[in-house]
């Protein structure tokens, strides 16, 4: 848990970088600090791990006043991803990740295992990347190592300053999704800085909107979208609020669950009975033993094949289907559907198991609900 109470900070030269900011991040939640450049996000973050000392106000981590704790000890237990990544150029990737475990005097074996585990988690095969130097990585890979380094000693708290800044939209989207998946498992308490309101809404349990050193609104993303505190927030959130709301909803929340499915070993006759004209079904999903999605079959294909004798589904199934994962945001799923020109996509869970179908119709219903 992190709590700021009336925290202020002015730099030499008189800028009131942070002005009477208070908020609380419950354990296991993500709070996103968002606002225009220079509004005091980084300064706020750095006060939490005492890289800056507040001029006034108090900061508590797990109900302990941080000003009473040795800053070195405090920082070793708070993962920190800095805005400019700041990897050590003279150390290999493995050495960079190992900095805090090393400071904490973990033994070699444990450190090596942890490094490999984190590299794997970041989607960077350890054998390939362990011994490279930062300059031998792409910008996006460096940012991932910055995140891995912050998580190395498994601190309960993470401070992340624009960890996905300066990335192309596709890579950023992917890292965001990976980040949410990892957070689902690890349940860290996170303060995350961005100037991208879309990122804030997608990732935050709470969003803190700052302006000129002041905290204007601290609320759940949906509340920020639907009840902006003032003109500034409304402007900052933007006009396409309804569309943005689709980022808050996961596909599994709106899909039609348990769609009819055929086993891949089924016969054409079984397929036809499912797809009989009376049922109105023109398509059926084809699954394997564990209900893992294998493909799609259309009534007319079955009819054609059946005319030529006792066909198996396995022979005529169309395996070339686009699917989305259950916790994809509806917005991402929708853009997938639009780009492939699909009226429906199957939704899959772990191990590719078919869990439901997302249709335009279900999205339309959600939009209607948001707008009302």
């Amino acid at each position: 848990m992190i709590r700021l109470e009336h925290v202020s900070k002015a730099y030499e030269g008189g800028v009131n970088a942070v002005n009477d900011v208070s908020f609380e991040v419950p354990r296991g939640e993500i709070a996103i600090l968002v606002g225009p450049s220079g509004c005091g996000k980084t300064t706020t973050l750095k006060m939490i791990n005492r890289l800056h000392e507040p001029a006034s106000g108090k900061i508590f981590v797990d109900d302990v006043d941080t000003s009473t704790v040795d800053p070195i000890e405090l920082r070793r237990n708070i993962g920190y991803v800095i805005q400019d990544v700041g990897l050590f150029p003279h150390m290999t990737i493995a050495e960079n990740i190992a900095v805090v475990p090393h400071l904490k005097k973990w033994d070699r074996k444990r450190i090596a295992e942890r490094v490999d585990e984190l590299l794997t988690m970041m989607g960077m095969p350890p054998a390939e990347y362990r011994n490279r130097y930062p300059r031998e990585l792409s910008g996006g890979q460096r940012q991932r190592i910055g995140v891995a380094r912050a998580m190395a000693s498994d601190p309960p708290i993470l401070l992340m300053d624009e960890p996905f800044g300066a990335l192309d939209p596709i890579t950023r989207e992917r890292l965001q999704n990976e980040f949410l998946k990892i957070q689902e498992k690890l349940k860290k308490t996170i303060v995350f800085v961005t100037h991208d309101i879309d990122e804030a809404i997608k990732l935050g349990d709470k969003v803190a909107i700052m302006r000129k050193g002041r905290l204007i609104q601290y609320d759940a993303p949906s509340a920020v979208l639907n009840e902006p505190a003032d003109e500034f927030v409304a402007d900052f959130v933007g006009q396409d609020r309804t569309l943005k709301s689709l980022r808050l909803i996961r596909t599994y929340e709106v899909m039609d669950a348990d769609p009819p499915a055929l086993h891949i070993q089924a016969s054409a006759a079984e397929a036809l009975s499912l797809l009989s004209s009376s049922s109105g079904q023109k398509y059926a999903w084809v699954v394997g033993d564990a209900r893992e999605l294998k493909g799609l079959i259309a009534r007319k294909d079955v009819l054609e094949a059946d005319a030529s004798g006792d066909a198996k589904i396995a022979d005529i199934v169309n395996t070339n289907v686009v699917s989305v994962e259950r916790d994809t945001t509806v917005k991402d799923a929708l853009s997938e559907m639009l780009s492939y020109g699909l009226a429906r996509v199957p939704v899959v869970g772990p191990e590719g198991r078919l869990e439901g179908v997302l249709t335009f119709d279900s999205i339309r219903k959600v939009l209607a609900r948001i707008d009302s």
């Binding site: 791990n49 070793r76 920190y80 800095i82 400019d84 990897l87 050590f88 150029p89 300059r135 031998e136």
Partner: protein, 217 residues
């Protein structure tokens, strides 16, 4: 010309010359690196700028003048000569150490602080390794300058290859003069080469120049 005698002198004076350089330059390293580190600490703030300013001016004083100043102050012989070399070599060492540390990207230092490294850990594990090649460049310059400046040690009775050179000049004996001058030149090249090797061997791949196309620009 007694070649055997000349060769013996070249050897003796070269060794004397190198001792002058090693002691004077060595002291400059031992004092200069810590001094450079000290003034690079944030606590020194503006004071460091003053020191750097004075040191930069000091560096423009001709080496012969430095040797000359030593004589009335410290008299003649080996010690004043060494001291003159020390003073002259100190400046590049201090300046490069300071510049090498201060030019490190501040976000790298901040990352270290943010991860809970102590000041000493940041100094030894981050700042010094990153500033290493700049510091070594200062030391290399200092040592090469020392080899040249040490030829003036003769003027205050410090010995070294200057003895041959100035003897050659006094006697209008080209052979003796060249023997001293060429030996000093060879020593300078050797010292330069040696330090170049050390730097290359000790610089980690991650910051070594020209090992990747990106670093070459």
């Amino acid at each position: 010309m007694d070649w055997g005698l000349l060769w013996g002198e070249i050897q003796r004076l070269s060794i004397q010359h190198m001792i002058l350089v090693a002691v004077g330059g060595g002291m400059a390293i031992v004092v200069g690196v810590p001094a450079g580190i000290l003034i690079s600490r944030p606590a020194f703030g503006r004071f460091a700028q003053t020191v750097v300013g004075i040191a930069s001016v000091g560096q423009t004083v001709p080496s012969l003048a430095v040797v000359g100043i030593m004589m009335p102050l410290l008299g003649v012989g080996f010690k004043p000569a060494v001291f003159a070399l020390f003073v002259y070599a100190l400046l590049p060492v201090v300046l490069n150490t300071y510049a090498g540390i201060r030019n490190i990207d501040p976000s790298i230092i901040e990352a270290g602080r943010g991860m809970g490294m102590t000041g000493a850990q940041i100094l030894f594990k981050v700042e010094l390794p990153l500033a290493f090649s700049v510091i070594m460049a200062g030391i290399r310059t200092a040592m090469v300058i020392c080899v040249g400046t040490a030829t003036f040690a003769h003027l205050i009775g410090g010995g070294g290859l200057g003895d041959l050179i100035f003897l050659g000049i006094a006697l209008l004996d080209m052979t003796t003069l060249l023997a001293g001058a060429i030996s000093a030149a060879i020593l300078a090249v050797l010292v330069d080469f040696l330090f170049g090797r050390i730097v290359r061997a000790c610089t980690p791949r991650g910051i070594a120049p020209a090992s990747s196309p990106e670093a070459a620009k």
